[in-house]
Symmetry: C2
DNA sequence: CAGCCTTACTAAACCGGTTAAGATAAGGGT
DNA sequence: ACCCTTATCTTAACCGGTTTAGTAAGGCTG
């Protein structure tokens, strides 16, 4: 089995130096047109393709961004909202000629994965990095953007919406429609390790409740992973034990599961029980059935995050935090409560 | 700004050679316990983390598998079936300590992307690689596994189900229930470049039809991208122009869109119009509402593909083609046609 | 005590490119 | 005729590890 063709082979065969060959591929202005032609012809003849890893290594760039997956690949990719974020990241990567690497915990260890990740920058979503991981990233001088995470570290830049305000708006809309028997399905606090997004939103709910002078105890609060199935199961448990007039969820995926369970019981979403989602996954190809929700563009989050990361990689001045907009999207699943 | 700590720094500080330091990290049995301890202590002290790219480069391994994305990231990741395949791949990657890299067409060129991909092996899904791309892969000696693609190349191994037989079974089930006004929504033939999966399944449909002595002309055949939205729109157009008693789709995502459109028109899925899907995305967290379908495990496809790829990477004897099982899954959306 | 093996370590080649610095020759200005 | 510039190409260092071959010291054997 012959060895692969290297820059050295081309150099010898074409009668030039390694450097000349390198220039021919990267900066033709540094050599004569004649040399350029000869070298490219020789390269074609020998079937030469520059080794990307060697190239990246000597340039000190990986040409890849990493998306750190909190737990298992499973749930993360399942959520249509995560998908839209990844899509946004992917677009920007493509523009920059970068690849996108999904980084699952290596041998169940995030630290290990981060140590070995061959990427120029990292994005995380919905969870706070441990001190150990942050220390590794600092040593490796690897820029990080945290999506929906906490901006409690100078090294970690963040992209998110104003979750507290958004959650407040969400619950206000529900309260304005007269609902009082409300079941909130939050994201698990410990989802993705020490997530704090759920905490920020709970605060917003508290604000809305006190604005309406409603005692927090009157609200049913539970939590569920951000999946369709989980939403369905949780709604089932709640409906077995009580009869809320409205479900408020922190994720559209959960809301869709809730709607499915409501219909399964022969009830009508909107007329019998209202449902309020969070995310606005409308454009994700996922069926959302006119869900009333707090819409935030996952794609924009992905795009802004990746752009931010590229600024940091390029050593440019980068904002430590980017807040993107959200809005209430009127649907057909939130209706005035029946008298 | 100080330079990063290298193996050289550790060697000097600890009073050993570069090689000794390398051994300390990779094969402690080659050095004394004393040296091992001293070196690791020094490494910890200086905050040393081996550079993964340099390590990979000298070892000649990338420690990453690539998933080649046909067109835009968008549609690919949107399909829950694709997601389950990726999940399967991810599991195997994790076991092997590998990362999974999503490779979008670089500057809109798949060839360019494949030239620059820093991965040890490639997986594609649902499309046939062009000769140019195959030639690049041959030069780079990069193993490829094609999922649901055509096994027309010695270099490209494949994992799929027997699509022709599966499609035949799918349509037979529908015909057995008495349906004759049938609308088939196929995958686009040109989806993912020169896809051939649609062709194989069409053949299967033909077989079923002739077994029932039904003229192919009596069947409405259209095609749609494998997304929820596309299924909804296509069903809308079909229902505007005709009144099939059953929809047969090549993808559950499409089938769910079809069901959504049927319900939107005030009709009942199953009783008024039957729907038959393909994929069996039940376990994907996607709402599938008792869809009758041809189930094939996306996760298993992913797992087998990745395992196959690892065999090839390790230079082991690997089967050129793996066929995984499928089965008809009884649901509530396919019912006996009304007299 | 020579001969041989084992242990512990090092020097240097190597992976395949990039790139700073230097060499050579040709061209231009005075 | 001389110096300076520019164009073109080469040499060699470099990126940060891994790994092969080799050496020196110590222990064992006969």
């Amino acid at each position: 089995m012959s060895k692969r063709t290297t820059i050295q082979d081309i150099a010898e065969k074409a009668g030039y130096s390694k450097a000349a060959v390198s220039f021919a591929f990267n900066d033709p202005s540094k050599i004569s047109k004649e040399a350029h032609d000869r070298i490219l012809a020789t390269a074609r003849e020998l079937g030469y393709i520059p080794d990307p890893m060697a190239r990246n290594f000597s340039r000190g760039r990986h040409m890849a961004l990493g998306f750190l997956l909190p737990q298992m690949l499973q749930e993360s990719l399942q959520n249509p909202y995560t998908q839209s974020v990844i899509r946004g990241i992917g677009e920007v990567c493509q523009e920059h000629g970068y690849m996108l690497t999904l980084i699952p915990p290596l041998h169940s260890s995030v630290s290990e994965a981060v140590k070995n990740a061959t990427v120029d920058g990292l994005m995380t979503m919905g969870f706070v990095l441990s001190g150990k991981v942050r220390s590794i990233l600092r040593i490796r001088r690897m820029p990080v953007v945290s999506i929906d995470g906490e901006a409690d570290d100078d090294d970690v830049h963040s992209v998110s919406i104003d979750d507290e305000k958004a959650a407040e708006l969400q619950l206000r809309k529900v309260l304005e429609k007269g609902h009082r028997r409300i079941a909130i399905i939050a994201l698990p606090d410990d989802a993705y390790e020490s997530s704090s997004i759920a905490g920020r939103r709970r605060k917003g709910y508290g604000n809305a409740l006190s604005a309406f002078s409603i005692p927090p105890e009157s609200i049913i609060v539970s939590s569920a992973k951000a999946t369709f199935r989980s939403g369905m199961e949780t709604a089932g448990r709640i409906l077995d034990a009580s009869s809320p007039t409205c479900f408020v969820t922190m994720s559209d995926a959960v809301a869709i599961g809730v709607m499915s369970e409501i219909r399964r019981r022969g009830l009508t979403v909107g007329d019998d029980i209202s449902v309020m989602g969070f995310d606005g996954i409308e454009d994700s190809g996922f069926p959302c059935y006119g869900l009333s929700t707090i819409a935030q563009s996952g794609e924009e989050k992905g795009i802004r995050s990746a752009e931010l990361l590229f600024m940091m990689i390029d050593g440019k001045e980068a904002p430590s935090s980017i807040i993107i907009p959200y809005e209430y999207r009127e649907g057909t699943t939130l209706k005035e409560v029946k008298a």
